[in-house]
Symmetry: C2
Subunit: 429 residues, 2 copies
């Protein structure tokens, strides 16, 4: 047993602060469990002076990440900067210097995790990233270890707290996307530039990481279909509720016949689905495996405390590996190479809302276009005629391929009695 | 790397069959992940001939567990018999013979896990028991490893599928306990003698295991308060629904000021609680830690496939430890010795239903008894008077100590205008 295991924190923002706080406040518990003291030896951040929510020892601070990466006394580098560069270089150099690494960096792990994991494996080092998906929710390790014997078939996740908060507020308060986004920004739940969350980038990184673990095959995040929530209206949410669905930004990964289908988009899910109860900033990840069936993991997907908990769990696991001389015991398991299918090969049910003239033959005219494209209809709902003589019609189709829906809508758009097709949202089981 | 890791299965019932099936069907996946073939070398069961749901190699079978336990080629003994004896002796002897052990045996781990874990630790062997709680739901390892840095404050679980099935059916179909129990027995969800499930023994074993891990302190299962569901009526479930609650058999463990409060009983939980969506035979475990906040784990709590998945996950984790020469790296973490408080020191809210005469002064008379005992009332609901002139009154109290409620009810029982106190159920937040 090493009496002391030293940690260097690179990037001292929200999660860095949370990590520091847990390592100091729960120090005894940590030592009792891993058999060593776990100490923060140095902290690197480009800004030494910004106000921080946590009490910390200022003498630990430096602006130089290299100082930590090259410090022979530091056993574990904790990367909490975010983004691909400089974290990639920092982590690669840390590994080359024989250091274990913990990161919460979803973008980096999704885009270049493979190179880093290969380097770690070659050197029998640990590179852990539990905090990169689902914040404090244990999900990476349960997938990699507990469900190791399962053939994972499907992962459906609400993995972005910001968009889930926005959709929850829109639904509960019947307000528009723009209004709620402003609130979320004021509350600190959405960033000034919300693109990364709202457009589904963050969710795409996370589902890529989960899919690569679940399906044992690297995922190309550029091939992940991605659609954000900015065009979701309160009307669609209200109709979804009326029809027995909730509207969520889902990150979906399915494996079928050795191929991977990975996509992020708003979707309606039936109210009976366990993911429906995942609201506000909470995250939920619903995993289907053979033989385990359906399991769900739920909790806070972000924040100093939640993500800090996951980072500290990783640090402790590595500390145990160091003490038992078995670092590198669980590495990358992407021993397969499964192709990713694109949206043209995806089949789901679809919700389509359109505004039409209210006169005889309209429904039949539209239905016949769906029929010609082999799209069969599950539900159609015509709402009251408006003062201007227009009607709103909502269609829910049976499972149909994306191209058939597209072809149908292209044609329907040209019909004289259809004014607009205002929404097209996928429906998941 | 060992080319082959040999497993011996002791007890070839439902979970044994499931384990065997996964080890054979997912053999390639398992080998690719752990670097060794994992083979079932022998299977012991007292009954060689009973029909089994799985295809298996009959030449592996023996009636002698000792044959497996003393086989020098077997690395891991998988104990799937259940009950305290003979499993305790089998596992102890396996450890003494240098074998790692996987078990799904909640009763054994709750009652005598400590002795076995100490023996394993001394010999640097692994004794894993993920399947003992929550079937296929990853919960033991997430608590022990992912949330290792957290101070766990509370665990609330729906951990018994049989009782959850019964309560779900009673609620959805407005039927009595006795009726639904008969159905559950016919469907194989409840045993001919349902005592172990229905009286909460099974849930008490499971919450004892979870609490000992969460609170790092051994739990005396005999000191766990336990109350079953046989006196739950459909009327209470209907009133619960009317008041915005669901009725569940909860296994609850709380840690406060270094003391543990552990209890199993029916409880009402508000409809907004994530555990409410855990229905039928599903299990859900809701964990509150500092700093992680609330996390929930959900899935199938029993059955060949679900429990088999957890057993195989344990086997693979041990196989990795064998290959990295680090078995025994995560053992018992009960480094604390926290007292268990008894029900007299427990404070919850309470639901009380009673039948009274319908005349002026009745409510005031009852309320004054509660008041004298320092029990304050949150809600009172009087239902329509019946043809016989009696009325039904439902009280929900604010948080109050158990003895105050007991004293109130003892007194209320003696009031002339109270005919019966038909129900007393705790209410959890």
């Amino acid at each position: 047993m090493k009496p002391v295991i030293n940690v260097g924190i690179v990037g001292f923002g929200v999660v860095g602060g949370g990590t520091y706080k847990i390592l100091t406040q729960n120090a005894r518990l940590i030592e009792m469990k891993v058999g060593s003291k776990v100490c923060v030896k140095k902290i690197a951040d480009i800004d030494l002076d910004r106000p921080r929510a946590v009490e910390y020892d200022r003498s630990l601070m430096t602006t130089s990440a290299d100082e930590l990466i090259s410090d022979p006394d530091i056993d574990i580098i904790v990367e909490l900067i975010g983004g691909v560069q400089p974290p990639f270089d920092y982590i690669m150099q840390s590994l080359k210097n024989g250091k274990h690494v913990v990161t919460a960096n979803k973008e980096l792990m999704a885009k270049r995790g493979h190179e880093l994991l290969m380097e770690a494996a070659e050197r029998k080092l640990d590179l852990y990233f539990e905090a990169s998906v689902g914040g404090g929710i244990p999900i990476i390790r349960p997938l990699k270890v507990c469900l190791a014997g399962d053939a994972i078939r499907e992962i459906k996740g609400i993995v972005n707290g910001t968009t889930n908060y926005i959709l929850t507020r829109m639904s509960e308060e019947n307000r528009s996307f723009e209004e709620v986004l402003k609130d979320a920004q004021a509350l600190g739940y959405a960033e000034a530039d919300p693109t990364n969350d709202v457009d589904g980038h963050d969710a795409a990184y996370k589902i890529s990481i989960l899919a690569s673990i679940g399906f044992n095959s690297r995922v190309d995040v550029n091939k992940v279909y991605r659609e954000g929530i900015h065009s979701i209206t309160k009307e669609d949410i209200a109709y979804a509720n009326e029809l027995g669905y909730a509207l969520k930004l889902l990150a979906i990964a399915k494996e079928r016949d050795g191929k991977m289908e990975i996509r992020v988009h708003p979707a309606m899910i039936p109210n009976s689905h366990p993911l429906v109860s995942v609201s506000d900033v909470y995250n939920g990840i619903y995993v289907t495996g053979e033989p385990v069936g359906n399991v769900m993991f739920y909790g806070r997907g972000a924040g100093a405390d939640a993500a800090g908990s996951a980072v500290v769990g990783d640090i402790m696991d590595i500390a145990r590996n160091i003490n038992h001389n078995c670092t590198g015991r669980v590495g990358c398991t992407c021993y397969e190479s499964k192709p990713q299918i694109d949206m043209a090969d995806v089949r789901t049910r679809h919700y389509i809302r359109m505004q039409t003239h209210d006169r005889p033959g309209v429904l039949a005219g539209i239905a016949s276009v769906f029929g010609m494209n082999q799209v069969s209809i599950r539900t159609v709902m015509q709402k009251d005629t408006r003062p201007d003589g227009s009607a709103e019609v909502i269609w829910i189709t049976h499972e149909a391929p994306e191209p058939s829906i597209k072809a149908s809508l292209d044609k329907i758009q040209t019909l004289k009695f259809v004014s607009t097709i205002s929404s097209w949202i996928r429906v998941e089981e």
